[in-house]
């Protein structure tokens, strides 16, 4: 006899509006973690939720965050492929989408934020996808290791390993960045004196 626990579950009771209300914010965060700072979150969130609306009745209800994360991951991947193809055909980069939230911190604060984001993006771009996404989800978007593991469907230990190496790379990256910046400043100083 098969125990009920072993049976596939149905999530038919899930209402799309409930899922949207509960998960919109998370989906936007995942999009940024997966696609980087330049992606158009609203456009991709719309794509994700169109898929969610279409597939909700077939969802087995077991791990909603994992299910939504997977849809987001595939959507972001598809969008990257489309962007790549567009660049190949049209020979230009897509314009980066705007942030959903603009921080009101004055010009100096805004400049500092932009600079930090530029450094962060630069260092993250040299990491593997897995480490970069784990780093973004944990360090920037504030998810716990367990939450990330549940979304990505990997053991928690794997997440910690990725984070460990991602942090190591990030620290090395910031050191390298600061060293380069210092060298540039010295160059400029020398040029100024000359």
């Amino acid at each position: 006899m098969m125990a009920v626990d072993a049976l596939p579950k149905s999530a038919h009771e899930l209402d799309f509006s409930d899922v949207y209300r509960e998960w919109f914010r998370h989906v936007c965060r995942w999009i940024r973690a997966l696609g980087g700072f330049g992606v158009d979150h609203e456009d991709l969130a719309q794509e994700v939720f169109l898929v969610v609306r279409r597939k909700l009745s077939a969802f087995d209800g077991r791990n909603i965050s994992g299910w939504l994360y997977r849809i987001t991951e595939l959507t972001v991947r598809g969008s990257r492929r489309r962007a790549w193809a567009k660049r190949m055909v049209l020979g230009r980069r897509e314009t980066a989408g705007g942030e959903l939230v603009a921080q009101d911190r004055g010009p100096a604060g805004e400049l500092q934020r932009k600079e930090a984001r530029r450094i962060l993006a630069e260092i993250l771009s040299s990491m593997s996808d897995e480490r970069r996404v784990a780093f973004m989800l944990f360090e920037i978007e504030g998810y716990s290791g367990e939450e990330i593991a549940s979304m990505q469907g990997v053991p928690t230990a794997t997440v910690w390993t990725r984070l460990h190496y991602a942090r190591k790379e990030f620290l090395a990256g910031t050191a390298e960045h600061d060293r380069r910046q210092q060298a540039e400043e010295q160059e400029q100083e020398k040029a100024g004196k000359a």
Partner: protein
């Protein structure tokens, strides 16, 4: 592992402090309410895509794959000096093949339904002090995932000296804690007295009384909610009800959302006429007031229908603890007194 931004400066290395400075400048993404509304509006306004482009692509891909396979496996014509191919094949020793059993759907009742129908009238007041009135066989009886508990308690009770307490805390996975009986296999009334000690709101609704099936039409084990009564939050903060019609695949909300009382016993009752065609009926009452009545509908999809009372939560990011007390559950062909 602590986040870089949370590392205490006195213990962090200079490089960690520098990294923390960078990370602190980038905050978690908080989409605005306007973005929330904009995306929702565009999702709602976008019609569902037609199926045919996908179907055409699938057919084309399959046809392509078949052609490639045929080309790859096409035998070159024999040259005049070669021995006929058929003879070569016949010379090979025959390879014994194991017999592969054909996959056939399981008979409807075999995998799960040990107790097909319930003999009415049936009552459970938990006066035995345990759950022996809800015998378990892996399908019916009780089911409680971790972070949930079923406990027979002495207070609060509606009648007698015992009631059932059900407690569930949601977490990263779905949480269920329910008691289950099979349905009558015809028309009948299913009721229970419930006591919500406080309002329970997850960010997603909690189901507490439902009919479901565990075997689909093909005889394959599949859990499917057929009719499910849930509590959800009303705009004014009160707890109200909604019904999920799993056969029709829609959510039914009453025109005037009734308030579910908290801190007192409330009688919930359902009538179910089981029918695989449009002659079925399902109705729900709360304290004798009719809430929902779906008449002339299909009420049975699959086999092995079950009636369950308890707390069923779908995964939520917002951890929520819910408690429910159950007493005087009853099933009968006529409406119990």
């Amino acid at each position: 592992m602590k986040r870089l931004r949370d590392l205490p400066p006195e213990t962090a290395s200079p490089q960690e402090r520098r990294a923390a400075e960078i990370v602190r400048e980038v905050s978690p993404l908080e989409p605005t309410a306007a973005a929330f509304d904009r995306v929702l509006k565009s999702v709602n306004e976008t019609p569902a895509p037609p199926l045919w482009p996908k179907a055409v692509l699938t057919v084309a891909a399959l046809a392509g794959a078949v052609t490639v396979y045929q080309l790859a496996t096409r035998k070159t014509p024999p040259t005049p000096g070669d021995a006929p191919e058929r003879e070569m094949v016949e010379e090979r020793p025959a390879i014994p093949r194991p017999s592969i059993p054909r996959l056939v759907p399981a008979p409807p009742s075999s995998p799960v339904a040990a107790e097909p129908v319930l003999a009415p009238p049936w009552r459970s007041g938990f006066e035995t002090g345990d759950l022996s009135e809800w015998p378990t066989n892996g399908v019916i009886g009780q089911r409680c995932h971790k972070n949930g508990s079923l406990e027979v308690v002495a207070a609060p009770v509606r009648t007698g000296g015992r009631a059932l307490k059900i407690a569930v805390t949601t977490g990263p996975e779905r949480r269920d804690c329910v008691v289950i009986r099979p349905t009558l296999g015809r028309e009948g009334y299913y009721g229970a007295w419930l006591y919500f000690p406080r309002k329970i709101f997850g960010s997603l609704p909690w189901s507490f009384l439902r009919f479901r099936t565990v075997v689909d039409q093909e005889g394959t084990p599949k859990d499917r909610a057929l009719f499910s009564l849930s509590v959800r939050e009303r705009p004014d903060g009160e707890m109200t009800l909604s019904l999920y019609d799993g056969v029709g695949g829609k959510h039914v909300r009453p025109d005037v959302a009734p308030v579910v009382p908290v801190g007192r016993w409330v009688h919930f009752e359902a009538f179910l006429r089981e029918a695989t065609d449009k002659t079925g009926r399902v109705a729900f009452w709360m304290d004798g007031a009719k809430l929902f009545d779906l008449d002339g509908v299909t009420t049975v999809v699959g086999h092995s229908l079950l009636f369950q009372v308890g707390l069923i939560a779908v995964e939520s990011k917002t951890p929520a603890h819910a408690e429910l007390y159950v007493d005087d559950a009853a099933v009968g062909v006529t409406r119990p007194e």
